[in-house]
Amino acid sequence: MRAPTRGPFDAAPPPAAARMLPAASVVIGSLITIWPFITSFPILPPLGLMMLLGWRLTRPGVFPIWAPLPLGFFDDLISGQPLGNAMLLWTLCFFMVDLIDQRLVFRDFWQDWLIASGAFGFCLLAGRLIATPLSAHVDTVLLLQCAIACLLFPLVARLCIWLDRKRQGTT
C-alpha cells in the first residue's frame, strides 16, 4: 500500500516519539499501580482509563476507535482484574463517546466531564461485578474511588492538553 504523497505545503508528519506519546501516557497511567504501596482496599483511581478518556475527549483525532484494545490488554495484565475486562469495557466507552459525538456535536468541558464521569462509573461498577462476588463489601470504597476519579478528571484533561502542545512543539 502506497503512502499518500505529501504536498510541498503540507505539514511534516510528527516524529515517531510524538506519535507514540498519547499511547505511552495511557500505559504510564496504567503502570501507576506498580508503585510500591500495599493497599487494603481499592483506592487508586483507574488512571489508565482516565488518561485514555482525557485524550479522547480533548483531542478526538488522536486515538483510532480500536485503540482501547491493546491499551486495555496491557492494563488487564497489571491491574489485577481478569483478562479482557478493560479490553471490553474501555472499547464500549469509546463506542459510547463516538455515539455522543454524533448526537451532541457542540459541547463544552462540562459535558465532557459528565461523559467521562459516566464512563468511570460504568467501568468501575462493571469491573467490580465481574471481578468480585456480590457479597463482598467493596461498594462504599468503590463509590469513593469513583468520586476520586471524577474529581481528578479535569486535571487529567489539562495534562493531556499540555502533553499535546508539547508533542506538537507549540508549547
Binding site: 510500591p36 487494603s40 491491574s79 468480585t132 463489601h137
Partner: protein
C-alpha cells in the same frame, strides 16, 4: 463552546473511508474477543497466569527499586532519632532484659517438658519450614480484588498454594508464580477463606475476606455462637495449606453469628514476608494401630 469535535466523513477518498470502516470492524471484533477472554478468565481464573507472570517479571524489579529508595528515605528520621535517644533506650532495654530473663528460664523448662511429652505421645510434628523471605512490592490498588506481588518466584522455590506470613501474622497465599515474582492472594480478598480457631477455646471458624481490609469470621460448626471483642483467631491447619497457630485476626466488635475482625498482619513494603511450605499434616501413625486394640478390649 468547542468546534464540532470530529468530522466523521473522511471525504471522498475511498482509502480513508475504508480505513475508518476497518477501524470499526477491528474495534467490534476486538471487543468480542475481549468478552470471550473475560468469560474464560472468569470461569478459569488461572488461565492467563503465564501472561500476567511475564508482565510481573518486568514490573517487579521496578517496584522493588522504588521501594528500596523509599525505605532508605524512611529510615533517615528513625536513625537520627535513635542517635538522640540512645542512652534512655539503653537503660530501658537493660531493665527489660533483666525482667525477661526469669521468664525465659521458665519458658525453657516448659519447652523442654513439652518436647518430652510430645515424644511420649509419639506425635509427629510437621513443621512447615520457610521457603524464602522476600518483600511484597506492589498491590492491585485500583482493583476490587486484593492481590500483592512478591519479589520472589519459582527460582527461589516458591510454589502455588504456599502460605505467606509476616512478622505479626498471616498475610495470604501464593496464587501464581513466575520465575522471579509471585502473585499473593491477600487475606482481605473477597475470595480468600482461611480455616481458623479461637485461641480461647479452640472453636473452629472460617475467616473470609470482605474486600475492604477486614475479615468476616463465622463459626464452622454451629450457629448461635457469640464472638467477644478481642477474641483472637489463629490458623487451625485444617485444609492443609496453612500451618497451625499462625495469628490471623482479632475481633473488633462483639457480635453473634458473623464477627468483624481485623488482620494482625498489615502488609507493607517495608517488612519482609515469609513464604512457608504448604502444611499437609500426614496421617498420624497411632490410629492405625489403635483399632485392633479397641476390638481386643471388647
Amino acid at each position: 463552546m468547542m468546534a464540532p469535535s470530529r468530522n466523521r466523513r473522511p471525504g471522498f477518498s475511498r482509502r480513508a473511508q475504508y480505513s475508518l470502516f476497518l477501524g470499526y470492524v477491528i474495534a467490534v471484533a476486538g471487543s468480542l474477543v475481549g468478552a470471550v477472554l473475560l468469560a474464560l478468565a472468569t470461569l478459569d481464573p488461572p488461565a492467563f497466569a503465564a501472561l500476567r507472570a511475564s508482565m510481573a517479571e518486568v514490573t517487579t524489579p521496578v517496584s522493588s527499586g522504588i521501594a528500596g529508595v523509599g525505605r532508605g528515605i524512611a529510615a533517615i528520621p528513625s536513625s537520627i532519632g535513635s542517635y538522640v535517644a540512645v542512652h534512655d533506650k539503653n537503660v530501658a532495654l537493660q531493665k527489660e532484659l533483666d525482667d525477661i530473663h526469669a521468664m525465659l528460664m521458665r519458658a525453657r523448662s516448659l519447652s523442654y517438658e513439652n518436647r518430652r511429652l510430645k515424644a511420649l505421645l509419639q506425635m509427629r510434628e510437621h513443621t512447615a519450614g520457610p521457603v524464602v523471605a522476600a518483600r511484597l512490592v506492589s498491590s492491585s490498588a485500583s482493583s476490587t480484588r486484593r492481590y500483592a506481588v512478591l519479589n520472589a518466584g519459582s527460582w527461589q522455590g516458591v510454589k502455588t498454594g504456599q502460605p505467606v506470613r509476616g512478622p505479626e501474622g498471616l498475610i495470604g497465599r501464593i496464587l501464581e508464580t513466575g520465575p522471579n515474582s509471585a502473585r499473593v492472594l491477600l487475606l482481605s480478598d473477597p475470595e480468600s477463606i482461611v480455616p481458623v480457631r479461637r485461641t480461647r477455646d479452640g472453636l473452629p471458624a472460617l475467616a473470609a475476606g470482605r474486600g475492604d481490609g477486614l475479615l468476616d469470621i463465622r463459626s464452622a460448626t454451629s450457629a448461635n455462637i457469640g464472638f467477644e471483642k478481642d477474641d483472637v483467631f489463629v490458623t487451625s491447619g485444617a485444609g492443609g495449606i496453612y500451618s497451625p497457630n499462625v495469628p490471623v485476626a482479632r475481633v473488633i466488635k462483639r457480635s453473634r453469628d458473623i464477627a468483624l475482625a481485623r488482620t494482625f498482619a498489615q502488609p507493607d513494603t517495608l517488612d519482609f514476608a515469609l513464604v512457608q511450605q504448604a502444611f499437609m499434616p500426614e496421617a498420624p501413625p497411632v490410629p492405625v494401630v489403635a483399632p485392633p486394640v479397641t476390638t481386643r478390649k471388647k
